[in-house]
Structure formats: C-alpha cells, structure tokens
Symmetry: C2
C-alpha cells in the first residue's frame, strides 16, 4: 500500500536549515492500523504531511499502491487525494467561511454521490461523533473538541482507503475520543481502510496493530501488537 | 481571590441563541491549583474566557481580589491583565509575525523589567520547556507541541499571580507535559500563584488540589485532593 525509501526533509534556506526527517524507510501493508509516537518536535507531522502528498520530501521515494508519487502529474495526485485519501490535521484546518456541515461534505462536493446519500452520511457521522447540534454553526462558534470531531467527520465521509490522522483525540474527552477511535477501527476492520495515526495517548495507541517510534527525524524502533 | 456569582453566558442573536453557561457559582482561594474537567462542548473554555476577563458574561458577577470586574474601567482591566494575569489559550494564540522569542517576551514589553533580566528569564524558561533551539523561528515553522510550550512560556514569564490554562498539555508528549505541569506547580507552591486549569488528562488533574466538573454549562460536582 505505502512504501517510503530514504525519505529526507530539510526546512529553510541556505544559512538556516533544519533537517526534520533524516532517513525514513517504512512499508505499510493494506489494511494495517499503524501508530506513530515520539517526542514533540521529532518529525511526526512532517512525516505524515509527506507520506500523504500534502508536502514534498527533499529527497527519497514514496510509492502508494505501487505508484511513485514523485512521478505522478499534479492532476493524477489531486484526484488520488480526493478519492482515496482522508486526513485529520493536527490543527483541524476547517474553512472559516463554511458551516460545520459544509466543511464535512467538502470531500464529496466533486464526487458523483447523490445529495440524498450525502445527507444520510452526514447525519450518520454527526450522530456517531455527537455533533448533530452544531452542523449549522461556523468553526469560530464551536469548541476545540467540536472542531476536532468535525475534522474527523470530513476525513472519513468519503470512505477513503488510506487515512492519515495527526493526534485526532488531542482535544477530546474520553467519551468523544473513544467514539472516534472506534469509528476509525470500524473503517479499518470492515472496509479494510489503511490508517496511519500520530498520537501521544497510550489509549489511542492501543487501537493500533503496530506502533513506530520516531526521534530526531528517524524511526528507531517499533512495537507490534501481541508483543510486550 | 476569585468569586463568581450566577454567571450566565449566551451566544448568538435573537433567533439562534445558545446558552453555554447556565448558572455558575464558584470561589477560588489565593494559592489554590484548581482543575476543570468535562465533556467537549460543556463550557470549559467559555468559563475560563469569562473569569479571566477575556470575554464578558451575559449576566452575573465576577470579583477578583475583591474588585467587581463588571465595574472596572477598561484602563484598570488592561493593566490588571498585564500585571497579574497569565493565560494559555486552547489554540495557543501566538502572533504569526513575531518570532517565538518575541511572542514569549510580549507580556514584559510594557513592563519596567530591564532587558538583561528579560533575556535571563527567556533563557531559563526556554531551557525548562526544551524550546531554546526554536526561539528565532516563527510560529508557522514549529510543531504543534513547540507552539504550546511557547504559549506556556509567554503565560508565566511575568510571574503572574493568577494563571488560566486551557488544556495546556493537549499537544504534548509525556516528558514535555510533565515539565510544564511541574513549572505550574512550582509557581503555585513557591510564588503562591493561583491556577485554574482545564484538562481532559487525568495525569494533569493529579497536580490539582481541587477539580470542578462541568456539564451543559453548570458545575455539578467537585473532587478535593485527599478525598477519593
Ligand atoms: N461564538 C460562539 N457562538 C455560538 N456558540 C458557541 C460559541 N462559542 C462556543 N459555543 C458553544 O458553547 C459551548 C461551549 O463551548 P466551549 O468552547 O466552552 O466548550 P469546551 O468545554 O471548552 O469544549 P472542548 O473540550 O471541546 O474544548 C459549545 O457547545 C459551543 O458549540
Ligand atoms: N516550516 C518549518 N520550517 C522550519 N522548521 C520546521 C518547519 N516545520 C517544522 N519544523 C521543525 O521540524 C521539526 C519537526 O516538526 P513536526 O511538526 O514534524 O514535529 P511533531 O513530531 O509533529 O511534534 P508535535 O508532537 O509537537 O506535534 C521541529 O523541530 C520543527 O521545529
Ligand atoms: Mg505534530
Ligand atoms: Mg475548550
């Protein structure tokens, strides 16, 4: 499903450069639920942004479904992102001029899914995440945790086959966090969605089948479920 | 130190109104470290914004150090906020056009503290929170957890006597979270700073001497350390 070889990411220009990812090599199989853990500033968000094609690596290769991302044209990349990919950003990334509902349906806006089906999916997901009462509000009118649940809803409404989640439960109380993790787990088990999730939370990590540990831009070890 | 009587907060205009706080009554004594816990959307951020004078209540009274906030002139409120108050926002609220260091020293910008002393304090706090290497970066160039630690540094650099912290460890790994909580606890024990902290995290709550539980805009129960 996803392979990364010698991926490096350097930020900055000539004088001030910072190497956020030194040499990342990994392989994620279809249907895996993989966690990424590591200290603040170790490169987790940078890695997720690059693997999901949101940002570009400085060097190295990334293949998704066998396709070399570096060689895909922008048009191919855009339709790949829209149809296959779901992303929950660390800072939610909701559009302030759209309502919560409009933000959630955005990934379906250009798809062929009928309006009635879109409506059904919104009601179902909003119910699962407890945000049915805030659908007509704007992002500035809802709480931190409500924004995060809206962002999670947007990421899964199009039933993506590959989901990247960057600390999806950071702003949530345990009830909301559990609902969100169970939904991700359901997509993983029932729909064979592949999931990569960054987390600091041991409870969230317990939903993963494998956890990669990153420090100073390298993956230095991993834990596989079943091992302790 | 802080008393709130029949505080109510209603958002919205005529047709669409939402009551975020129904009837809040509380008293915080000087030197207390009080936690606030509750489901996402229950009114925690709203309560903190009102008690700290960042937002206004719809009705009810708030007294800080015996002064009725509703009766204070804007000039008095501004100098009170600058000299006595420290705030760690849920969304960090760093200014994008300033460096991390400039954001941290902002509360001291108008004070009489000498430049040499300001420099010493920045180095000390940045060292405690592990962000000495990012002081010359801008907010968009640092990670989520680094932003949160910068926001926490700004909140405590002026040694405020009253600190409001809204999920200050949400984006932090356990090492950074522990460093931050220990610093807050040190201010509380050594300098008798009064602290109100919203959190979802049981470890953070364990630093509090009392925890208030809020649901649907009312404080329905509390736990006092020593009781189990
Ligand atoms: N500007 C606003 N206009 C309308 N409703 C609002 C506004 N701000 C907040 N609310 C509503 O008030 C309620 C309380 O919000 P608040 O941000 O205080 O919650 P919270 O307890 O901090 O939640 P979280 O744990 O998710 O951060 C929520 O239901 C939210 O939708
Ligand atoms: N645009 C940028 N320019 C320069 N440095 C950057 C930039 N973005 C990130 N960095 C640096 O790269 C490193 C990795 O950042 P990243 O956001 O990937 O960390 P993270 O592991 O997600 O941390 P957190 O747990 O705090 O979210 C950090 O040291 C950060 O300061
Ligand atoms: Mg991150
Ligand atoms: Mg909040």
């Amino acid at each position: 499903m996803l392979e990364a070889g010698n991926v490096k990411k350097v930020y900055g220009q000539k004088g001030h450069i910072y190497t956020a990812l030194k040499d990342i090599n990994l392989e994620i199989k279809e249907g895996e639920f993989v966690g990424i853990m590591g200290p603040s500033g170790s490169g987790k968000t940078t890695l997720l942004n690059i693997l999901s094609t949101i940002d570009q690596a400085t060097s190295g290769s990334i293949r998704i479904d066998g396709n070399d991302i570096g060689k895909m044209k922008e048009e191919q990349l855009t339709s790949f992102r829209r149809e296959k990919l779901g992303f929950i950003f660390q800072d939610y990334n909701l559009l302030d001029t759209l309502t919560i509902e409009e933000n959630i349906v955005l990934p379906l806006a250009l798809s062929k899914v009928k309006a009635k089906e879109i409506d059904r999916r919104v009601k179902e997901i909003a119910g699962k995440f407890g945000i049915e009462d805030i659908l007509s509000k704007f992002p500035y009118q809802v709480s931190g945790g409500q924004k995060q649940r809206a962002a999670a809803s947007r990421a899964i409404i199009a039933n993506p086959s590959l989901i990247f989640a960057d600390e999806p439960t950071g702003a949530l109380d345990s009830k909301s966090a559990t609902a969100l993790l169970q939904s991700l787990s359901q997509l993983n088990v029932k729909d064979h969605a592949t999931i990569m999730m960054v987390t600091h939370d041991a409870f969230a990590a317990s939903f993963c089948s494998r956890v990669l540990f990153i420090k100073d831009g390298v993956i230095f070890t991993e834990l596989v479920k079943g091992e302790t």
